[in-house]
Symmetry: C2
Subunit: 271 residues, 2 copies
Amino acid sequence: VGIIGLGLMGGSLALALRPYCRSICGHDIDSRVIDQALDRGLIDQPIELSGDQVDVLILAAPVIAILDWLDRSPSMFGGEFHVIDLGSTKAQIVAAMRQLPERISPLGGHPMCGKETSGLGAADPDLYRRCLFVLAPLDRTQPATLTLAQDMIAAIGARSLLLDADRHDRLAAAISHVPYLTSLALVDATLRANDDVAWAMAASGFRDSTRLAASDVTMMLDILTSNRAAILESLVRVQSSLHDLIQLVDGNDVTALRDKLIVLQERRRNL
Amino acid sequence: VGIIGLGLMGGSLALALRPYCRSICGHDIDSRVIDQALDRGLIDQPIELSGDQVDVLILAAPVIAILDWLDRSPSMFGGEFHVIDLGSTKAQIVAAMRQLPERISPLGGHPMCGKETSGLGAADPDLYRRCLFVLAPLDRTQPATLTLAQDMIAAIGARSLLLDADRHDRLAAAISHVPYLTSLALVDATLRANDDVAWAMAASGFRDSTRLAASDVTMMLDILTSNRAAILESLVRVQSSLHDLIQLVDGNDVTALRDKLIVLQERRRNL
């Protein structure tokens, strides 16, 4: 198994897959991270980037970097192999996977887990436990690749769900990318309020509501640019929901407001 | 000490104050909660609601209920005493406190802590540890009342901060009440997206971003109605911040977007 990108996701995957693999090799744009991964025993060796042989290539990088690796991998890795990515958006990646030579069997993937912290230092073999791992197969994905991915997902304690790439991206916009933007807007608006006591007063409610604003910037920037259309569409729905709530608050119809709050409280509590 | 309202806040305060009080009496609109508080030894006895003597009366209820208790307390409790409230908004409560007879020394308060769960069952003697406890003194607040409140706050492990009621309400709108509304809007918009897979895909990011939507409805309803003006003003700032972010995403100026994300990430990480 070759893992490209030894940050939180790739590093955690290396740790979780360790007991099941004959050999794990890895690569990172930061050569010090490769050294750390070797020191900690996460990988057996660095990937040789010219002519190396891998059975499974896992791309665990931000979306734009994954697109770049998909472009370069045919000239880097010989023979037949599976390629699975862990990118946060799927439509552009799956489109790029369609261009791969036939000897490579591609499969889109996105584990729905994460942490406020990023990087190899935060890697955790239990990161994937009980997480939902979305798989977005292509028409050309070989059955053996799908089976292998599902076995891998079971081995690391996650659950797999097959989803069309476009549907994944629409849903990820609603439950992840737009919450990132509202989280940023809350921090930005609090900065604009221009009263430093606000930060001292911020308790767990503000911390939780804005946790996503602390996400890795490169990862999020790639998400915002590669899933722009779905995000803007989903954002319109949130703005409309917010507008309706404001109308209820402003309109002083306490009964209607209470009914709405109860429905949304119920829905959130059932999560 | 008499505590009105034996939910999460009042119950936790009773537990935390236990070692420091000669006697704690309590009241709740739900008589079964009073029985539970007696059974668990949180209070020594129920408050007698006609002519009982208290040294300190603590109002730990939703805002509208606190306003009601302030109205009724002079006819219920004889002699001189301090009254301190734990309400989520301060302007209306402090205004009502101004109307109390002179034998009662009032002080507005708001501990900036909470939990997703509410009720006596969630009461925790450590709830107030390291929390910021805002005090909003009135001109007529006696120095002894302020000293007593500060001693109490130190005893339960919290830190006190003196703030004008209006400033408290503006800041609370920014860091708590508006995040509640955005949290509701995220849940509402996901319901409108009308694809149940969204809920299965929702991971820690969505959970955190929407945690406030699960807050106690009566408490939040009172906040929304008693702090309407500050909330609407703060919401305008959030909508404007969101609009600016959308422009950056839509405008494809990756450098400007990255710079903005880095500033907000930094600010959130320094929280």
